[in-house]
């Protein structure tokens, strides 16, 4: 791989990493929400 492609690879990895982080946070939040919805509906 030539040197001038390296920054692009880093850029792609950075975009993927931030997307994965956001998706992980959203899924975590969804699990928490479903838990609280269940509690609220039981009440």
């Amino acid at each position: 791989m030539s040197d001038n492609l390296l920054p692009d690879s880093e850029h792609i990895a950075r975009i993927r990493r931030s997307r994965n982080n956001v998706l992980g946070l959203l899924l975590g939040a969804f699990v928490v929400l479903v838990f609280f919805i269940s509690i609220a509906k039981m009440g």
């Binding site: 850029h11 975009i15 993927r16 931030s18 997307r19 929400l33 609280f36 509690i39 509906k41």
Partner: protein, 300 residues
């Protein structure tokens, strides 16, 4: 960066967020929340949050579908050419899948967590915006905004139904207020971006019927809106806090509409009255629904 080069990159999550039209969504969330809070029946905070989240997801999903369908039109309009699809930062298929998943997810979550009547109205709102307005009406009739305005009018109705589980006259009036607010709001915008709409063949009222007719219709809708916004007070659904606020806000809307309705711009006009009306119309809706909630809290 060229479109080809952009598409080699994975789509940034911020572009997915941009696809949901967050600025428009803020008004949708606010009116939906107000419908929920103004309802006579209190909701569990978690369920209330979930209902508003579903409204936001539905609005975001239908906005994504709207941009997926209109990607070519958006690329030809200065106002929309920087969006993720026309600027080549996102693949069309990804936008479509995102829109479908968000829309379906919002309806399913609303049905399971809140109730299927609210979910059915949410589904209707999504189909209304993504199919009836975007695909069917927008390019066919200058009444696109009038009829399509129904899509944006659903949130307070959904919020109310999520809280009470039934449709009564009050949420229908809230629906009607936004329905009649939409034409003067969008036509004020269309008057100062007329060339953009004309270039891509969207039959907006100023392009098809002319400026004079559009300006008079703006004034007519503003007068109707004033009367309609007072109706919740007249039927006893709200107190004086809302009634007097609606009167003051509606009169200001009418005055600004009259400034637009009774003039014709000259060559090189800055269109200041039209821009002021557009800006005020957003403030108007926020303030009117805030007054509705304040009135409910005071009455309680």
């Amino acid at each position: 960066m060229t479109q080809g080069a952009s598409l080699l990159l994975p789509t940034d999550w911020r572009d997915f967020l941009a696809l949901t039209k967050p600025r428009v969504m803020s008004l949708v969330i606010f009116t939906g929340l107000c419908g929920l809070l103004a309802a006579p029946q209190a909701t569990h905070p978690v369920l209330g949050f979930t209902a508003v989240l579903c409204i936001a997801m539905g609005a975001g999903g239908s906005a994504a579908l709207n941009q997926w369908w209109e990607a070519d039109l958006d690329s030809a309009m200065k106002r929309t050419s920087k969006r993720p699809l026309p600027s080549g930062r996102m693949d069309k298929g990804a936008a479509r899948d995102f829109g479908v998943a968000l829309s379906a997810g919002s309806v399913f979550l609303m049905g399971v967590a809140i109730g299927w009547l609210a979910a059915a109205i949410l589904a209707l709102a999504i189909v209304y915006y993504a199919v009836v307005y975007t695909i069917w009406l927008k390019l066919r009739t200058p009444q696109n905004i009038v009829i399509g305005g129904g899509a944006g009018a659903f949130p307070p109705l959904i919020g109310w139904v999520a809280a009470t589980g039934e449709i009564t006259l009050m949420p229908v009036l809230l629906f009607a207020i936004i329905f009649f607010w939409t034409p003067p709001h969008f036509w004020a915008l269309a008057l100062f971006v007329k060339t953009d709409y004309a270039r891509v063949g969207i039959p907006m009222m100023p392009v098809v019927a002319g400026e004079r007719s559009t300006r008079l219709q703006i004034l007519g809708y503003a007068a109707l809106l004033l009367l309609l916004s007072m109706a919740p007070w007249w039927i006893g659904g709200t107190g004086a806090v809302y009634g007097l606020s609606a009167l003051a806000l509606g009169l200001a809307f009418l005055v600004l509409s009259a400034r637009v309705g009774l003039r014709m711009p000259v060559e090189g006009d800055t269109m200041k009255p039209e821009k002021q009306l557009f800006g005020y119309s957003v403030l108007y809706l926020f303030a009117l629904f805030a007054a509705l909630v304040a009135d409910r809290l005071i009455m309680a």
